[in-house]
Symmetry: C2
Subunit: 216 residues, 2 copies
DNA sequence: TAGATTGTTAATCGATTAACAATC
DNA sequence: TAGATTGTTAATCGATTAACAATC
């Protein structure tokens, strides 16, 4: 069981956790059972110091003179990130991006399930997306009251997003994964992760034009 | 014209540039012509010091006692990021995500154009996506040799991604925007931006479970 | 000119790296 | 036990913030 040792984990550390998750999953899939901080860090192109420092935010998962058990460490990271918990999600806005997300299989693998899909367009309502029938967004509040859900995904156009977010918040959603290009206003205690899809394209554009040195 | 004053711009600064771009675009759209670092920083929830420090990496765009002209500063940021240049892109892998990207209108607005789309699946080849006919990926190298293109977008499944990247690199692509869940190997001088769509979902998951304090 | 606000230098803060005692 | 490697403390590095002289 993970013990949070410090009140607040630095955000930089949290953002690295998905990478730890990914690399450990790959090592586990390869059947590697044991790894030292030195080796794991080399795989991730970070320093062993940083790796150990990062992990020490959450507890002591290794063994002196031995290293880490890959599967055990992966389990810890999963625990910290809240993966494999069976987290329920609903999605609003079944356009191209919404459909892409509903069909994205990696969520399932990590314990996230899209349980219902909503849209405003009468042409879209009733369609089946990856086996889920799209409901009218007018039924969103009622649905959420009957089926408490942790995460709401917003894939609507910008003008509709705030209204959808308000309904989600009022119906007890804990976190919003927002793909609409607009800053959402939510009360204390509700978390929003805003995905700016084109930000990394702009970074790429900058690097191409400035002959920026390679390597992340 | 922007003058690069230091050999290498810190990556943290580059990653903030798209946000400057966005906020300045919004201000410009609102018809705001002039802004001080103080006001602009407040809008972005950063400090005025950081804003001025960031801009100083690229030149001097303000005027003492006056502030910045919004449109002029936006033009500078666009220049630095290489926006509105008419950057050509091609996309390989016309699945749900690929189709979503081809239909994403914000690229056009910023001067990025998807000029051709490729897929391997005979069922998909020949389909029209947002007015672009999907070509067989076997013709990718030939296409790129005839039509030099700066950016390649990879939306294929993981197993196909490296092969596609190799063809792109050999055909002179300068940057790869990679949505396939695999680390691509590319030579010096070619830039890759890897989009890990579910990383921010995991961060959201962490925050929900740990009652992480609000505010980005 | 007086007031305002930049660009930049200096001070602080936080994150990364190095080093090592603890210990498996 | 001897060797290896962790977890953690201390040192370094880089990024953010504060302060202010330059100047519009």
């Amino acid at each position: 069981m993970s013990i949070i040792k410090y009140d607040v984990i630095p955000l930089v550390v949290i953002k690295r956790l998905p990478r730890y998750h990914r690399v450990l999953s790959e090592l586990s899939a390869k059947g590697i059972g044991r790894i030292s901080s030195q080796e794991l860090a080399a795989t991730m192109k970070i320093t062993a110091s940083q790796l150990r420092q990062d992990l020490s935010c959450f507890g002591s998962f290794g063994q002196q003179g031995y290293g880490y058990r890959v599967d055990q460490l992966l389990t810890e990271v999963n625990q910290i990130l809240g993966l494999n918990y069976g987290t329920g999600m609903i999605l609003v806005g079944a356009g191209f991006l919404g459909k892409a997300l509903v069909n994205y299989e990696n969520f399932q693998k990590r314990g996230f399930t899209i349980q219902a899909v909503f849209d405003q367009d009468p042409e879209v309502v009733g369609q089946s997306v990856n086996g889920i029938k799209v409901s009218n967004v007018s039924g969103l509040a009622t649905y959420l009251q009957k089926n408490p859900t942790e995460i709401g995904i917003i894939c609507t156009p910008a003008p509709a997003a705030q209204e959808v977010a308000d309904v989600m918040v009022q119906s007890g959603i804990k976190g919003i994964w927002n793909f609409a290009p607009i800053s959402l206003k939510v009360p204390e205690g509700v978390h929003v992760e805003h995905v700016h899809i084109s930000e990394s394209l702009m970074v790429l554009s900058f690097k191409i034009r400035q002959q920026y040195p390679n390597g992340d």
